[in-house]
Amino acid sequence: CGFAPAYGPGSDAARLRGRVAVEVPATVSGYLLRARLIDRLGPAREAAYRLDVDTSEQSEQAAISADGAVLRYRLLGRATFALRPAGGGTALAEGTVEAFAGYSSTLGTVASGAAERDARERLAVLLADQVMTRLLVTPDLP
């Protein structure tokens, strides 16, 4: 039915494996996003490509009880990415992806803090996976 393995022999996706250097901002979300992208792309020994990713994060209140307690938050994440040859040049693939991850704050402060950190980790995985999907569909990489 016309579907072929993305990582088939000699495919574009296979050419990315272990050859992409990932550059992120020096923040928590940047660090987590880079960790997940490297797990999905494979650590780069000598990078033939460079993936610049910029992340931004916003928190909104998802549920407020009648007595004003904030029961749930929602972290909104946005990642703007651009894949270029290692030496620079025009972007081979670029775009912006968005996702959200909710967490509860109904228990104590330590539980809410742990839930927030977990939400930030999940958000990084959701964004990284969307970036990977966009990279996998990029045709005719040099």
């Binding site: 016309g2 579907f3 490297i38 998802a62 004003g68 307690a69 104590g108």
Partner: protein, 682 residues
């Protein structure tokens, strides 16, 4: 000393040493340009007598028009009659007479100042009339004497003396835009912010709130350092809601230290739980004052943080929160010879409670060491095999809780493999779209030995697309899963050449045993979890929808969350919906379903409407509603807002508040004027 130039169609030199230029007369001197009907240069007196209509433009951007004038050849000093001065193409000052001294001082007598378009004979929307106005070009200030403020020609306010910065001045001490407000908690009143510029890097805004039911002094101090900034906001008030003085301190700051280390602090303290809500400063329900230092690099990170919490919630005693929490985290990332990514991690956290009774006074400290290896390889026809190994050891020290041993240790291990087989199909050049189907299967094993350590973290596993194949699904470090778990998922995405994306994803989690620590009603602790479905739609032009939901075999929904965001020229909208089944372990025993909406509609350059609402569907009660109307033209911006908060506790009652702010553009304190100057009708 430059030369004054005069250009005209014809010049006549009279016997008494005067040179009269007529016809398209223009004079230039050192960047100042004057055009007029006729200019007479009296050499003996070294004066230019100019007959109008006169237009003078100065290098500083001032524009003068006048009927007649006597000027020095340098076109600076002199007197204009029936003149108008325009500053920064915005503020017009019409005067019976304008005297310009040579050194940048312009005095206008019997003046009318406005930034509104003056149409036909009618008075402008607003103007300031003054017996005398002095414009100091150097200090960029306008000093008004015997000034009266007129709306549509009707005098509404009289001020013996007034000083306003001219439009070209960025940071100047002076009165900012006053805000009118009325609310159930404070009564009707006005905020009068006064901005004090303390040099180039510091400023202080003093804002007295004067209202029928309250008086508050708000101070906001800001300082920029070479490597950081700090902002301190204090409130000191007394009002009818509560006896005695009330206060709030909200301070924060961030500094960049050498070797990429960042230091941040945040202090939040209030006199009573209801202060922030009564004064509509924030709807935070917990205050967290923290000191944080961290550094993130490609090969790892380090973080140290200590936080003091104070709860504003009615049912929560700060003492047992716990109020004081400290955390240390350090990670080192290596790429070993065998490939993949090895992360060595050390972390510690400690919490102190000072409540009464075991639960409310337990203090816990934990130290943990762990190593994570993650590697992947291609196998067969494009099959990606991802393996992950994790080993960890945690030591706990517990005090003030007889039910817990004082020292406890625990070991944990986990291993997982994830198979990913992405398949591509390129549609024809018509749409330039590509479809990708990605089946993913994962199998993980987790083992635990040692004590059942105290759990301070939450017990709720969030069920989203990452949960299916994660190795460690529980938030925090105290709880760890046990046994075998398998995740099956399938994701289909279609991405077109313009980046528009539609993606659908589904999956389910299987376990070999029910998780002891998680209570049974959380579906993720069962042997077969609910179905998970999540989808996202990105139209590429600032419009997107994201949805995730879980339901059981009988299609009964156990959780859902959705969000829509649209950003268009004429309107932007963001709406969210949440459905959470009750979870006693997690502290809420009835279903939470809440929806929120935030939208702004812009009707042409003048009108804008904004609305925010939050509704608790389960309790069938609104939580918050706000409505705003904005009107702006070239010389005034009016913002009217009404908001209602339904929070109802012992300290806080449902309250409605209104706000009105009128901002005159044309003075640097006001926002820049919108270029929507209407044409003169009729």
């Amino acid at each position: 000393q430059g030369l004054a130039q005069l250009v005209a169609d014809s010049v006549t030199v009279t016997a008494d040493e005067t040179l009269v230029a007529r016809g398209n007369v223009e004079a230039f001197y050192d960047g100042t340009r004057l055009s007029a009907a006729a200019i007479a240069y009296d050499r003996a007196a070294d004066r230019l007598n100019v007959t109008g209509p006169i237009l003078i433009t100065t290098p500083e951007g001032e524009v003068f028009t006048a009927r007649a004038a006597e000027l020095s050849p340098q076109l600076e000093a002199g007197l204009l009659r029936g003149a108008r001065l325009v500053l920064d193409r915005q503020l017009q000052l019409a005067a019976h007479r304008i005297d310009r001294t040579g050194d940048g001082i312009t005095a206008l007598t019997r003046t009318a100042a406005t930034s509104c378009r003056v149409c036909g004979g009618g008075p402008p929307l607003w103007e300031i009339r003054a017996a005398r106005v002095v414009h100091d070009e150097e200090a960029r200030q306008l000093y008004f004497d015997d000034a009266s403020f007129h709306i549509r020609g009707v005098p509404v306010m009289w001020l013996p003396r007034m000083r306003l910065p001219d439009p070209t001045l960025e940071r100047a001490s002076g009165l900012l835009v006053p805000q009118l407000f009325s609310s159930d908690t404070l009564g009707f009143g006005v905020q009068l912010p006064y901005f004090v510029r303390l040099g180039g890097r510091r400023d202080l805004t003093v804002t007295p709130w004067i209202a029928t039911g309250a008086r508050n002094l708000e101070l906001r101090y800001r300082q920029a350092f070479r490597n950081g900034w700090t902002e301190i906001e204090t409130h000191l008030s007394e009002d009818d809601n509560r006896a005695g003085p009330r206060y709030a301190l909200l301070a924060e700051g961030a500094f960049a230290l050498p070797r990429d280390i960042r230091l941040e602090f945040d202090i939040e303290a209030v006199s009573d739980d209801a202060f922030l809500l009564d004064y509509d400063l924030s709807d935070q329900d917990r205050l967290d004052s923290s000191l944080r230092a961290y550094r993130f690099r490609d090969d790892g990170y380090a973080l140290a943080e200590i936080t003091y919490f104070e709860s504003l919630r009615e049912a929560e005693a700060s003492a047992s929160l716990p109020p004081l929490v400290a955390r240390l985290e350090r990670e080192k990332v290596l790429t070993p010879g065998i490939g993949g990514r090895l992360t060595l991690r050390a972390d510690a956290d400690a919490l102190w409670r000072d409540g009464t009774g075991a639960e409310a006074s337990r203090d816990v400290a934990r130290i943990g060491l762990s190593a994570d290896w993650h590697g992947a390889g291609l196998v067969g026809p494009g099959l990606l095999v991802d393996t992950a190994l994790r080993v960890g050891a945690d030591g706990y020290a517990v005090s003030d809780d007889p039910a817990q041993d004082t020292a406890q240790t625990r070991l944990s291990q986990a291993a997982g493999v994830t198979l990913r087989w992405p398949l591509l199909r390129r549609e024809g050049p018509a749409s330039g779209a590509t479809q990708i189907v990605e089946p993913v299967a994962s199998l993980a094993y987790a083992g635990v030995q040692g004590d059942t350590v105290p759990n301070e973290d939450s017990k709720l596993i969030e069920f989203d697309a990452t949960t299916l194949h994660a190795l460690d699904r529980l938030p925090g470090e105290d709880l760890v899963e046990e046994g075998l778990s398998a995740g099956l998922g399938l994701r289909w995405s279609r991405i077109d050449s313009a980046g528009r994306t539609l993606s659908l994803q589904g999956g389910r989690l299987f376990r070999d045993r029910v998780q002891p620590e998680l209570f049974d009603n959380s579906d993720l602790s069962q042997r077969r979890s609910d179905w998970l479905v999540s989808s996202s739609l990105d139209f590429g032009t600032g419009a997107g929808v994201e949805l995730t939901a879980s339901f059981d075999d009988a299609l009964d929904i156990s959780g859902a969350e959705a969000r829509v965001a649209l950003e268009q020229a004429q309107f932007d909208l963001s709406a969210a919906y949440l459905w959470l089944e009750p979870d006693v372990a997690e502290g809420f025993d009835e279903r939470i379903t809440e929806t929120a909406l935030d939208t702004t509609l812009r009707f042409g350059p003048r009108w804008s409407l904004s609305a925010q609402a939050r509704y608790d569907i389960a309790a069938e009660a609104p939580v918050r509603a706000e409505f705003g109307v904005g009107w702006r033209n070239e010389c005034v911006t009016v913002d009217l807002s009404a908001s209602r908060r339904y929070t109802d506790t012992q300290d806080v009652d449902p309250s409605t508040s209104f706000g009105l702010s009128v901002n005159l553009s044309g003075f640097s304190a006001g926002r820049p004027a919108v270029a929507a100057a209407g044409r003169c009708e009729g």
